[in-house]
Symmetry: C2
Subunit: 426 residues, 2 copies
C-alpha cells in the first residue's frame, strides 16, 4: 500500500491513477464469437455453453418448475433478507418517477417531455463461485418499476445445467420470468441479436469479466445500448481523527475483497488516524476468508494525507470514486462538496455493504473515473424522455418568421418552405 503525504499538485495524476487494464487484444476473439452467435443462434449458444460452462443443455429457458424448485430450496432467512432488500430498493427507485409539465415557451407553442420505458431490456448476471442475486435485484427492480415490457435475464448455469436458487428467487421476486441459461459472450450476443429462444433486446445491463465487457462494447457500437462502460470496483473513504478505525478498515477491506484489481483509497487530514488505521486493518485482514486475494488488491491501494478539507475534496473529485464513504465529524459539510462519485455513504453507520445489498440505492455504478460523466443505474436508465410539441395557428404565425430566417441562414431551403407553405395557409 502506497502512502502519499501531502502530495503536490503534480503528483495528483499518480494519486488518482487506476490499475490499468487493457482488453483490446480480446477484440478479435470476442468479435468472432459474436459473429458465430449472430449466424448460428441457439445451436451455437448450446455448443459454447458446453465448452465454457461444461454443461449440456436441451432448453436454454428456465422452466416454471425450476422457479418452483428454487422457491422451495432457498433458505428462509435468505429469502426474507432478499424480500427486505426488494422492499427498500423498490421504494427508492419508485421515488425516481417524475412528473413532466407542458411548457408554453411562447404563446401557442407547447413543448413537453414524456418518460417512456424501454420496451425490451436484457440483464446479465455473471456466474462464478458465489451467486450474485443482489445484482438481479439491482437490475430487475427498476426495470419492472419503469414498466419495461420484456425483461430478459441471462446467467450461466452450473455443470448440471441448473441456475442457483437465490438467483431464481431474486428474479421471481423482482417479477422477471424470462431467465435463460447462458453466460459470458454468448449471453451478450444472444440478447443483442436474438436467437430462436432468447429475445433480442434494446439495452443490456450488468457486470461481467473482461470478455463480457468487450462483448458489451462491441454490440453497443451498432446493435444495442448498454448501461455504461466498466472497470474494476473501487472505494474512497474519507476519515478524520475522530473516525472509528475499525469501521474504516472494514470498509476498505470489503472493497479490496472484490478482486485483485479492486482499489481502495483512504483520504484523511489526520496522520495519526492513518497510522492507527494501518494497524487495525492488518488485524482485521488476518481473520478474513479471501485474505490472499485481498492482499493482492491492497498492493495498489493508497493512503492519501491531505493538507485540509478543501484540497482533500478537490483530489477526491479528481479521482471520481465509484463508492465514496465519508466518516468525518463534518460529513454533511463534505457531502456538499462532492461533484464526482457514483454513490456516497455518509456517517459512521452507512457502510458500502448497505448500498451493495439492501438500503435502497443501486449498486451498478460508474468505475474507473467514469463518474465524471456517468451516473449509476437508476430508474431513468430504463426510460427515454421523448419530447412532444404542439403549435397552434397563432403560435406558428408568430414563430414562423423566426424559423424562416434561421433556415435561410443555414441554407436549408426546404426547412424554410415547411413554414412558408403553412404561413400561406394561416
Amino acid at each position: 500500500m502506497q502512502v502519499y503525504r501531502y502530495p503536490s499538485k503534480d503528483q495528483w495524476n499518480e494519486v488518482v491513477a487506476r490499475p490499468t487494464f487493457d482488453n483490446s487484444q480480446l477484440r478479435d476473439l470476442v468479435s468472432g464469437i459474436l459473429s458465430q452467435i449472430k449466424e448460428g443462434g441457439d445451436e451455437v449458444i448450446k455448443q459454447l455453453e458446453e465448452k465454457f460452462d461444461h454443461c449440456q443443455l436441451t432448453s436454454l429457458e428456465v422452466l416454471p418448475n425450476e422457479f418452483e424448485d428454487a422457491k422451495a430450496a432457498i433458505q428462509p432467512d435468505l429469502a426474507a433478507a432478499i424480500d427486505r432488500a426488494y422492499h427498500n430498493i423498490a421504494a427508492f427507485h419508485e421515488s425516481q418517477h417524475h412528473t413532466y409539465n407542458k411548457v408554453e415557451t411562447q404563446p401557442g407553442v407547447h413543448c413537453w417531455q414524456k418518460a417512456i420505458a424501454i420496451d425490451k431490456v436484457g440483464l446479465y448476471i455473471p456466474g462464478g463461485t458465489a451467486p450474485l442475486f443482489s445484482t438481479v435485484l439491482m437490475l430487475a427492480i427498476p426495470a419492472k418499476i419503469a414498466g419495461c415490457g420484456e425483461i430478459v435475464l441471462c446467467t450461466p448455469p452450473n455443470r448440471e445445467g441448473k441456475v442457483n436458487p437465490a438467483i431464481l428467487y431474486a428474479a421471481w421476486r423482482s417479477g422477471v420470468t424470462k431467465v435463460y441459461k447462458c453466460g459470458g459472450v454468448q449471453a451478450i450476443g444472444a440478447m443483442a441479436y436474438g436467437t430462436e429462444s432468447v429475445p433480442k433486446v434494446y439495452k443490456i445491463f450488468g457486470p461481467g469479466n473482461q470478455f463480457v465487457q468487450m462483448a458489451k462494447q462491441l454490440v453497443s457500437l451498432r446493435d444495442v445500448a448498454i448501461d455504461m462502460p466498466a472497470g474494476p470496483s473501487e472505494v474512497a473513504v474519507i476519515a478524520d481523527a475522530e473516525s472509528n478505525p475499525e469501521f474504516v478498515a472494514s470498509d476498505f477491506l470489503s472493497q479490496a475483497e472484490h478482486g485483485a484489481d479492486s482499489q481502495a483509497l483512504l483520504f484523511t487530514t489526520s496522520e495519526q488516524f492513518a497510522d492507527k488505521f494501518i494497524g487495525v486493518m492488518e488485524s482485521q485482514l488476518e481473520k478474513l476468508q479471501r485474505q490472499e486475494l485481498t492482499r493482492k488488491s491492497l498492493e495498489h491501494s493508497k493512503i492519501v494525507i491531505c493538507r485540509d478539507d478543501e484540497e482533500m475534496m478537490e483530489i477526491v473529485n479528481e479521482y471520481a470514486p465509484e463508492h465514496l464513504i465519508i466518516q468525518t465529524t463534518n460529513y454533511l459539510e463534505l457531502a456538499d462538496k462532492v461533484r464526482n462519485a457514483g454513490s456516497v455513504f455518509l456517517g459512521p453507520y452507512s457502510p458500502e455493504s448497505a448500498g451493495d445489498y439492501a438500503s435502497g440505492t443501486n449498486h451498478t455504478l460508474p468505475t474507473n473515473g467514469y463518474a465524471k460523466a456517468y451516473n449509476g443505474v437508476n430508474l431513468d436508465s430504463y426510460m427515454r424522455k421523448v419530447t412532444f410539441q404542439e403549435i397552434s395557428r397563432e403560435g406558428l404565425r408568430d414563430l414562423g418568421p423566426v424559423i424562416e430566417t434561421m433556415a435561410t441562414a443555414e441554407q436549408l431551403d426546404a426547412h424554410r418552405n415547411a413554414v412558408t407553405v403553412r404561413l400561406a395557409n394561416i
Copy 2:
C-alpha cells in the same frame, strides 16, 4: 420512392430498414489520427487544420475581439431570430430541472439523489457550406443551464482561419466563451485528450461526418463519454385523408434535403391521400434549391399504407423515427400510442423545422432506430444523478442482519464484516 400497400408482418423488416452505412473501414485511419493528436497536441492539430481545412492558424482559440467582430457582422434579423430561439430553448430546458426528495426506505435509512452538472463538456459543430449555428444553441444552452463549469466548443474555421459570425454569435448568446478553431477528428481528439490550448472534457456532444462519428466512437471506448451514436437523419410523417398534402410534402422534403442518406417515410391509412401527396411533393420539389440531393434521398424514402391506426402505430414504433410528425385529425390519440421516437410534432402547425430551430425542444436526437433505447439531448444529458445515503445507528441495527445474511450467501466475508464491526459497536 417505394410504396408499400398494406405490408404483411413479414415485410415489416424491409419497411423499417435504414439505408445501411458502415464506417468500420475508417477505424484504423481515424485511430491513427487520434494517436497523433494524443502525442503531438496543438502542433499536430495545426498541421491537420492546414491539411483538411486549408488554413494556417497561429492560435487555435477564438479571441475576444473575434466575438466582438461577429456581433458587429451578424445581420440584425438573424441576431433577433437567434435571440428568440435562445429564449424558447432556454425556457424548455430550464423546465427540466427536477427536485429530488430524501426517501426513508425503512426507519433510519435515508437515500436520495442529487443532480450534479458534468464539470467539463465539449461541443462539436461541423463546418460545411452553411454554418450550423442552431446546433450551437441546442448543445450550449442546456450545458449552461445544467451548470457545467467548463464548456468548450470546437468548429472548423474557413480558409482565412475565421469562424462564421452566426456561430460565434450563437456561442456568445449561449454563454460559451471557449471556442477553438478545430474541426473533424482533430476536434474530437483535442477535447478527448486535451492539448496545450484545448481543455480535456468529460463528455463530447455534437453531430459530424463519418470521420467525426468514428472518432467519437473510438474515444468513447475509454476516454470520454459521448451524447449518443449517430446515423443519417430521418422523419416519419403520419397523415390521413383530412391532412393537408402541401404541409406533409413540405415536411417530407425538409427531411430529404439534409443529405443523400436521409430518409423520409409517410405512414397513412388513406390510399387517396398517398396519391395526392405524390403529386404535390413533385411540384414542391421542382422549386427547391437542393433538388438534386433531395431526389437522391427520396430514392430510399417510402410510403407505407396501413390497414388501421393500430397497425400503423405498431409499425411506426418498430421504425422508431428520429422525428415523428402526426398530422391526422386524431393526432392526440395517436400521440398516446407513441413508444419509440426522438421528438414528436403534433397537428398541422408543428413542422419539424420548428423543433429544428426555435420552438424550444432539442434537435440532437437518436437516429437509425436508436430511439428504441436512447433519448435526445436534454438537461439530464449534462448532469449525473449521484446517490447519497445516511443510515442512523437504529437504522443499521435493524437493517444490518439483512446485509449480513446476503453478504454471507454471496461469500463476501469482508462485506459482512463491515456491518458486523458496526453492530458490535451499537
